[in-house]
């Protein structure tokens, strides 16, 4: 998976590498494409879109090799951080067995609010703790902190990491935002539950404010996505104004749906949309030539699944009908037949060459 947050704002206009994005002028098209190629865990659009924060730490801390010398890595880490000053990497990468990255992440992570964990008591709260936050799924509590204490291996590694951090702190006076070391491994993705946040110079470093900051960063990244989605939001700064724009956009879309349904109701004396006749008369003269191209694949006759829809019609029958549907079906045969083919399209539709054709015809 690619980074959303960082690349979104900058590379929005360079999308269009995929053919289905072409006509849709969404600025985030490129990222969405990349997100599609990433592995959504449960296949839903949202989790793919979410780009859950990287939880490399869990992987890292479970991996055995984390004993490389911190000194040589620290320079590399700082260089990396210097180059990407303000990005928090939300799309989680697959974590390669790279000991440098492992060690870096191990060093840069601590338990958040780990009042019960042994190492936090040893480390004074004023030292720069970094927060390990569990990312939210859409359904889970966004602010729950991980119960890491129960995991002994993780604890051990963190003890080591906090000691290393103390040494590091003595060497360096300030801390910077962590880039999650995974900027180099941007291509593959694997969802890891921890976000590494570093305290900026001069900021409060207790665990609560760090957690707050991590949460705010998550929200800000999502807001950036929203900003790119809603047209005209890019130039606006400030959450309230952006929210205003989003609200007005959603309202206008909902109003459009209302008006369009009114239009459709006015156009048809009875709501029968005979796609067959639509296509027959429209193929030449449509302004929006996309529509027939979209509808055409749906009309491909597929006889086998014709029986699928009948049970549902039966259900509908039993609920509300006075007149039998079956009788009606016989009469306008050419009306019903294409509809059935339309409806029964789904079974075989998603296979084979049809799919690629459909993808090429974009709306």
């Amino acid at each position: 998976m690619e980074r959303i947050a960082g690349t979104g704002g900058r590379s929005g206009s360079t999308g269009g590498e995929k053919e289905e994005i072409g006509a849709e002028s969404f600025l985030f098209g490129e990222e969405i494409q990349r997100l599609m190629t990433g592995p959504p865990e449960n296949g839903s659009s949202f989790t793919a879109l979410l780009g859950l924060p990287a939880n490399q730490a869990m992987e890292l801390l479970h991996s055995p090799e984390s004993d490389t010398a911190p000194a040589e890595l620290s320079g590399e880490a700082w260089r990396d951080n210097h180059m990407n000053p303000h990005k928090l990497y939300y799309c989680s990468p697959t974590f390669p067995a790279n000991t440098a990255l492992i060690d870096r992440a191990a060093r840069f992570s601590v338990f958040a609010a780990g009042e019960n964990s042994p190492e936090t008591s040893s480390v004074p709260s004023n030292s720069s703790h970094k927060v390990k936050n569990e990312p939210t799924d859409t359904d889970s509590n966004p602010n729950s902190l991980p119960p890491l204490i129960s995991n002994p291996t993780v604890e051990n590694k963190n003890q080591r990491s906090t000691k290393r951090k103390e040494r590091e702190k003595k060497a360096k006076g300030s801390t910077k935002k962590c880039k999650n070391a995974s900027n180099e491994t941007s291509e593959e993705a694997e969802k890891l539950p921890y976000v590494h946040v570093r305290a900026r110079r001069g900021q409060a470093t207790d665990s609560h404010s760090l957690a707050e900051r991590a949460r705010r960063e998550k929200i800000n990244a999502r807001m950036k996505l929203l900003q790119e989605l809603v047209p005209g939001c890019n130039k606006i700064s400030g959450t309230a104004l952006v929210l205003d724009e989003i609200i007005s956009h959603v309202q206008s879309l909902q109003r459009q749906v209302e008006f369009l349904s009114m239009r459709l109701a006015a156009v048809n004396p009875r709501i029968d949309f005979n796609l067959d006749s639509l296509l027959a008369t429209e193929s030449g003269s449509l302004v929006d030539s996309n529509f027939p191209s979209m509808v055409m694949p749906l009309m491909w006759p597929d006889v086998q699944a014709n029986g699928n829809r009948q049970p549902y019609q039966q259900l509908w029958n039993d609920d509300t009908l006075h007149q039998p549907v079956w009788g009606r079906e016989e009469d306008p045969h050419n009306f019903i037949a294409p509809e059935h083919s339309l409806l029964s399209y789904d079974s075989s539709a998603n296979s084979g060459p049809l799919q690629s054709n459909q993808l090429k015809m974009e709306l």
């Binding site: 659009s45 859409t138 359904d139 966004p142 369009l260 459709l264 156009v267 639509l278 993808l359």
Partner: protein
């Protein structure tokens, strides 16, 4: 994320099916009835195109199925997954009730707190926070099922909702244009 074209196709498929069922049930429908039927089947089709993976879709479906007259239509559009989807949306409703009671108690606490601090100097950050809070309230009222979401999930739901709304509007507009052109001929 599903590519936009397949979303539109699914939506169109389910929508046409729903409309067919509506028209097959009643011979004569007034203008408003037709409009309602169209909009309802469009909304339900859009929500089911997401297969109840998002909260707003589940809330939409549960709202639509509350009305008994729509129930049959909703079930048909949802198709084979209707039972599991209904169960999912019912659980969502229950969660809403729990969250609502929690929120009421939280609000009463915060009101007490706010009265204490009102005498102090009003900072710009608090003004900004209040503005943002108001707008999130409005957004919650717009997005279906938004009342019980945290801020973070609200933003994600809005994202998905906007995408689906766009697809819906596109498909509807195309269909409207086509039928109008047809009628003119």
């Amino acid at each position: 994320m599903r590519p936009p074209t397949s979303l539109k196709k699914e939506f169109l498929k389910k929508w046409i099916m729903g409309l067919q069922l509506c028209s097959s049930s009643k011979k004569e429908m007034s203008f408003l009835e037709r409009k309602k039927a169209i909009k309802l089947s469009a909304d339900v089709a859009m929500a089911s195109a997401r297969n109840a993976t998002t909260r707003w879709s589940r809330a939409l479906i549960s709202n639509a199925s509350k009305d008994d007259s729509n129930k049959g239509l909703v079930e048909c559009i949802l198709g084979p997954e209707s039972e599991s989807l209904k169960r999912a949306s019912m659980s969502l409703v229950l969660c809403n009730k729990r969250n609502r009671s929690k929120k009421i108690s939280r609000k009463s606490c915060s009101i007490r707190r706010a009265r204490k601090s009102s005498s102090q100097m009003v900072m710009a950050s608090s003004i900004a926070k209040r503005l943002v809070k108001k707008r999130t309230q409005v957004l919650k009222s717009l997005v279906p099922g938004g009342g019980s979401m945290s801020e973070f999930s609200l933003i994600e739901e809005t994202l998905d909702y906007i995408l689906s709304l766009r697809a819906q509007v596109d498909v509807m507009r195309h269909l409207a244009n086509v039928t109008e052109l047809l009628n003119r001929k």
